[in-house]
């Protein structure tokens, strides 16, 4: 009797999970499949919403469709070849995000080594301060960022976003937590063998946290790949905006194209996800406490 109840519970739980999974996947999958529709199909399906007065058949109601009637790459051709605007914005995104990821992780690695290797009241005070800073929302940090950019004369240039991004304390915090788990005996042993600090850092600490570095890089990447607040305030020039901001300003006549570009914009982060999910999960799991 009891066993029967349990199998029933498991089936129920599985169905529940499947329903949830469907809800979580649906928006992404819909965006991707819709990007393969022709402009006229998009218009007939969603014409009511993104209404333009131009002709063609517009259905009375909205058809949310999973599978296009006819798969076509025409939207991609338009977006990638015919109008260079989108490609430029995609490039803008890359040129902002890639330096931030590389240098934030690099700066953080050195700082995390310092926090791991030497403890003391001042240093734990600084570390605690980093945690507080990490938790501050944009409403707090953007005003100081704006002021500095103005003083340095880098407002409205990419540097206004890249430089504060490089020194954001998130990776320092996470990497320190990883590094502190390296057995101290390893460092002691290297020291006895006469290794200097730089050698200990590059030959012991860094190889030990290779997966941590990767997972932090992924987390930093998606955070900045998705950014909207910083470019809106620090980059007034529309030409330099990343695709994340530009996508929202597409006009109603080009919805099909918008689906295609939205899909292209997902590709880098989805690829990173598929490749590094295990690392990502480990990285998230380790960010799990602000204490210690």
């Amino acid at each position: 009797m009891r066993k029967k109840k349990r199998t029933f519970g498991r089936v129920g739980m599985f169905i529940l999970c499947a329903v949830f999974a469907l809800m979580f996947l649906m928006p992404t999958v819909l965006t991707i499949t819709n990007s393969f529709m022709s402009e006229s199909e998009i218009k007939s399906n969603y014409g009511m919403i993104f209404s333009t007065t131009s002709g063609g058949y517009v259905s009375e109601t909205v058809n949310l469709k999973f599978i296009p009637d006819k798969v076509t790459l025409s939207q991609y051709v338009t977006g990638l070849i015919k109008s260079p605007d989108y490609l430029i914005k995609f490039w803008n995104s890359l040129i902002l995000v890639v330096p931030i990821v590389i240098f934030q992780v690099a700066v953080a690695a050195v700082a995390a080594y310092s926090f791991t290797r030497w403890r003391g009241r001042i240093r734990s005070g600084i570390f605690f301060f980093y945690v507080i800073l990490m938790l501050m929302p944009y409403q707090v940090t953007l005003v100081p960022n704006y002021l500095v950019s103005q003083w340095l004369g880098i407002l409205n240039t990419r540097w206004a976003i890249i430089l504060p991004g490089i020194f954001a304390p998130f990776s320092v915090f996470l990497l320190t937590k990883f590094m502190r788990r390296i057995p101290y005996s390893l460092i002691e042993a290297a020291k006895v063998d006469g290794a200097g600090e730089w050698e200990i850092f590059t030959k012991i600490c860094l190889p030990q946290c290779r997966s941590a570095l990767y997972s932090i890089a992924i987390l930093v990447f998606i955070d900045y790949w998705n950014m909207v607040e910083q470019p809106l305030i620090l980059l007034q020039d529309a030409e330099q905006q990343p695709l994340s901001v530009f996508l929202s300003s597409i006009n109603a006549g080009e919805i099909g194209l918008a689906f295609a570009m939205a899909t292209i914009y997902m590709v880098p982060s989805l690829l990173l996800f598929l490749h590094g999910e295990e690392y990502l999960v480990e990285g998230i799991a380790n960010s799990g406490s602000v204490k210690g």
Partner: protein, 288 residues
């Protein structure tokens, strides 16, 4: 040079790139922000102390933005915590395809918001899919983004995006609970509910604290979703603090901006300290 001094120099050496950057880009200018919040203008520079803050609290746009943000956070944050625990507990059960489900639940976090707002617009438009669906049950059509229901739309997007991350944190927390404790509870015939409230939740309390803080911060960032869905001028109930900041940036009213930033910083510090206190009290007997 003694060993201590040498160590200190070394540590400073490794910390300096980060410390210098944080100093230049965050600490130093934040000091100036505090200064700006206390003076009457960048030109005249007279100390007026709390006057800017008092003015801010009489500013109707600020009050509305604060109210909307608070309203959103008060509902969205508990939901983000509770639903994430539910997801984590679901994946703890012995069901097939567990790792696939984890991937599915986590995947929205990797999708830029800008990429999926189109689907949200299709779903929640006046002629959209959700209304079509509700029509089947005889409900009236709602113009979701232009009505008092608008926060719900943004909340769904917020939860969709953030639940996976929180779920991973709770899964990690659950796996740290000593197995023998749960086995003893099983043997003595404890109910699932008892096991959850008396054992699991106790051990999860640091995670609950962290997820609450994290979701709180993310709920302050929800401007992003609102902006991408509705642009610069959303329905009144969606006017968030970041909208207020953006508009103030446009007029470059430094005093207003600085006062608002300082208030936000104080509120955050107080909230975090409070959550720490609550967690200390709640998780006292498990730690150590």
């Amino acid at each position: 040079m003694s060993d201590r001094q040498k160590d200190f120099l070394h540590s400073l050496c490794y910390l300096s790139p980060s410390l210098l950057g944080v100093g230049v880009f965050f600490i130093l200018p934040f000091g100036v922000v505090v200064y700006y919040a206390l003076i009457d203008g960048v030109g005249s520079r007279n100390f007026v102390f709390l006057q800017n803050f008092i003015k801010l609290f009489h500013n109707s746009a600020f009050l509305m933005a604060a109210k909307n943000t608070l309203h959103f956070s008060l509902i969205a944050v508990p939901l983000a915590v509770v639903l994430a625990i539910v997801l984590a507990l679901m994946l703890e059960c012995r069901i097939p395809m567990k790792s696939q489900f984890r991937t599915f639940f986590l995947s929205p976090m990797m999708v830029p918001v800008a990429s999926v707002v189109l689907i949200w617009q299709v779903l929640f438009n006046y002629n959209g899919t959700v209304n079509e669906f509700l029509l089947l049950f005889g409900a009236d059509k709602i113009d979701w983004l232009q009505s008092d229901y608008c926060q719900i739309v943004v909340m769904i997007l917020f939860l969709w995006k953030n639940l996976g991350y929180n779920m991973i944190l709770f899964m990690a927390g659950l796996s740290n609970i000593p197995k023998d404790l749960l086995e003893v509870a099983d043997v003595s015939g404890a109910s699932e509910a008892y096991k959850f409230f008396a054992i699991k939740l106790r051990y999860l309390s640091p995670t609950v604290l962290f997820v609450t803080i994290l979701s709180l911060i993310n709920s302050f960032k929800v401007f992003r979703e609102v902006y991408l869905l509705t642009g610069d001028y959303p329905y009144e109930k969606l006017y968030m603090l970041q909208h207020f900041m953006n508009n103030t940036f446009r007029s470059l009213d430094y005093q207003k901006l600085s006062a608002a930033a300082v208030i936000m910083a104080i509120v955050m510090v107080v909230l975090i300290a409070l959550l720490f206190k609550v967690e200390d009290w709640f998780g006292k007997d498990v730690e150590g």
